[in-house]
Subunit: 347 residues, 3 copies
């Protein structure tokens, strides 16, 4: 039998199965620098140690999205090597900050299995938890993905997924211990706009655009130790539907989030991921734009939380806030519809 991992197929998953994923990864200042270099991230809390210290932290933490991609990357060899489509995620919660020097690992539980009627694929739902070197959870999220069957005739057991919540409740959002915005430096943060200034339904054009190169998304995706071959193997992709490499959706999220600095500079800290869908593929050579909408506001006491929809577009700027056509379908240039909570200082 081969010692190579060909990935799990739909019939390999069982309800309630616990999968401990390989390759613990220590994140360092290097990952923060690479995150900046690869995405253009500018939120001050993750860029400057002294800024983070003025906010009550020991130093600049690792960007939560980098934590997400690192944890997600670990799950790929076990969960989605034979995935046909990444359908979505939900209930993402960043429950403890990650600092340079922390080592991350990940465990997933299979919480849903549903064979498709075509007999060829099924939907696997997992709840993944990322842990640090002290076995403290730092992140958990639910993800569902369509996975190929190895053998169409294989018998499978359905296990209806626990329906994920549409929104992470505000009382489940966790702030990094010590976080204190009372000395917040609005100038160094890059914007005067506080929690109070954002209005429900407000939409923000993030203006700037970013063209993505093959080398950039490959370097980023390898940094996350994400091995999904659709991002790396042009030869194999030539026979795929698109005929070329796809950019990992996490790269799209991080690029869009970095673009959102321009208008949301004070929405420093991603606290939760309510949901996310990659509605069209992004390819190298495409130029990404983004806009945001304020979906909800919650006063968490010391800080405010904004629930934000982050929409990313390819090859079309965000003026006019494109999203769906009259039939309710996503427009062809929309690549990402992402829904998250962010901490933002109050005035």
């Amino acid at each position: 039998m081969t010692k190579s991992n060909l990935g799990n197929f739909f019939e390999d998953f069982t309800p309630g199965q616990q999968i401990a994923h390989a390759t613990p990864r220590t994140l360092s200042e290097a990952d923060s620098a690479l995150n900046i270099a690869l995405t253009g991230a500018r939120h001050a809390l993750f860029s400057g140690d002294s800024f983070a210290q003025d906010c009550g932290l020991a130093g600049a933490p690792i960007d939560p999205l980098l934590v997400f991609h690192t944890v997600f990357g670990k799950t790929v060899p076990d969960i989605s090597l034979n995935a046909v489509a990444n359908l979505g995620y939900a209930e993402g919660r960043f429950v403890a900050p990650v600092y340079p020097g922390d080592t991350l690992s990940a465990v997933s539980e299979v919480i849903g299995l549903k064979a498709n009627s075509n007999g060829k694929t099924g939907v696997v739902t997992v709840r993944t938890t990322g842990f640090n070197q002290d076995d403290e959870p730092v992140l958990s999220y639910v993800r569902w993905v369509m996975v190929n069957k190895r053998d169409a005739a294989a018998l499978t057991t359905d296990a209806p997924p626990i329906t994920p919540k549409n929104v992470v409740s505000a009382n489940e959002l966790m702030l990094p211990p010590g976080l204190d915005f009372s000395n917040y430096n609005w100038t160094l943060a890059g914007s005067p706009h506080a929690f109070e200034d954002y209005e429900l339904g407000e939409r923000i054009d993030h203006v700037d655009g970013m063209t993505v190169e093959e080398a950039e998304h490959q370097i980023a995706t390898r940094l996350y130790q994400n091995t999904a071959k659709v991002h790396f193997d042009v030869l194999a992709q030539k026979e795929s539907r698109f005929g070329k490499r796809l950019i990992y959706g996490g790269v799209t999220i991080s690029l869009a989030r970095a673009l959102s600095f321009n208008g949301l500079a004070n929405a420093q800290l991603m606290l939760g991921i309510n949901g996310g869908r990659h509605v069209n593929p992004l390819f190298a050579g495409d130029t990404l734009y983004a806009w945001s909408e304020v979906l909800a506001k919650e006063d968490l006491g010391e800080v405010g939380a904004l629930r934000l929809r982050l929409v990313a577009l390819k090859n079309q700027n965000a003026a006019g806030f494109p999203l769906k056509n009259q039939a309710g379908e996503y427009e062809a240039n929309v690549v990402l519809d992402f829904d998250y909570w962010a901490a933002i200082p109050k005035r």
Copy 2:
């Protein structure tokens, strides 16, 4: 009103205005490694901790050009987002070394404003100072840039710029505290040529060439958190004069300086920037070459200082030291004419 930053236009600047720029940035060993990976830098003082320690320092400092690009990058969203042309800089002085772990921020003062007669643009001159986390200045320089007006009819006040000095005086050059070349290891540095060996007017062909890729300059420019859209947004650039992305001039300077190792390996430490002009654009796919000329020599006591002209060329090697044609205009392949001071050990 939009919360997005559309940048300042010429009429937004006022004489004497102080602008504190956003996004403090902690530089780490990662930035030094990325500087090497992105530019090919080889000057030993910034590459090896033990070499730097033998030169009296606590460890390898951050390359001064990386400090420059980081500080410069912070100014872009406030100063040059609507720039038409980067006209030049002068009076650059590296006044304190930056070590891994230091956090940089930047402040600019508007020291000159001059509307152009076309009514559409004006020249803004600023003096920018970079600070570390202890509010100690690490770098200052003067820059002038041509900026669009938002409204051609807007009234503006001229404030004639203080004429920058052509050359930073030798007595203004600052060496890192503790720097001591008495145990200098010429072999590990890569060249036997000392301060005494360089002659006024001597020209050095740096021989090697470096082809630049889109991903490389974008990664570097994002590392500096420089957001000028001309470097990143191919869609917007299609309507520009060149029809494609421009490489940030700082990338050109760092690449040329890295090439200059071959002939100037002991010119370890940039101390001052007398002036610099980007005389032609550099694009991805171009191959960069460089040559240097010794413009002046100053004995600073413990060390020598060379005033060097660093000329970078695209798609033409440096044999013959191309610079200007008979009419005194820069030749088309010359992209950079840069004038700086470097510390070099004496024998």
Copy 3:
């Protein structure tokens, strides 16, 4: 006389010559992160500090191949700037681990010189040793390379090379002090396959493919401070045999080794390099695949050692284990035939 280094030509080398190479380089966590980002490396010992600590080490060491490339890079300006072909290496031994913060330098001894009958070139054989900041050797290897003569008429002295051993003896393999696999976590390592599970002659298809971009190999090769112009200067390369940039062979080795994780996840630690040949060139745009063969097994007591042949292919997957044609020549898609020792835990 020019101060630029044009490299040594064949007649510049003398038997027994000792060459101390320039540019000491401190490796840090950043180099480990970049190694992951540029190659896709996943062996847990170099990825997670806590995993390395559970294996008795102070933290994750620097990947031995990164040590090799760094040491090798230092030799290029002295040994192979005028090389026509990199013929091979042997007797590679990693004799002490390298940790973040260590500073590497390199010394080579000329142990063989043989002029070719064409009068234009000769073969230079060197033994190179890499040292850390305490002057302890960390790596030694023998390399032979065909180098141009500056002057076909130049007289040269032959010094027949000491014939390198075909294989590093198992008793010469050095394990990092403290290494202890008794608490080895097979799950976090990513595979259940121990020393005992691999059979002599067993071949493993590593399945995955990786397409290489110009920016990626250039960034990696600069990270190693390898200045060979064939990797960087598209203009000079236009007049070469291939008409374009060649990818540094060390990048190929590291990519193939990273691909080999899939099937050899527990072959954590490269201990020795028995030999290596780059049998066909790799170019940007090519997709790399790899397979391995178990050539020998040695029980080192606490751990096992596998002698592995690592074969890398371009633009053809590894199914069928392509290597040589019936005439005994390497097939056109084979780019690397590499022979090394790796430490692997016993059950």
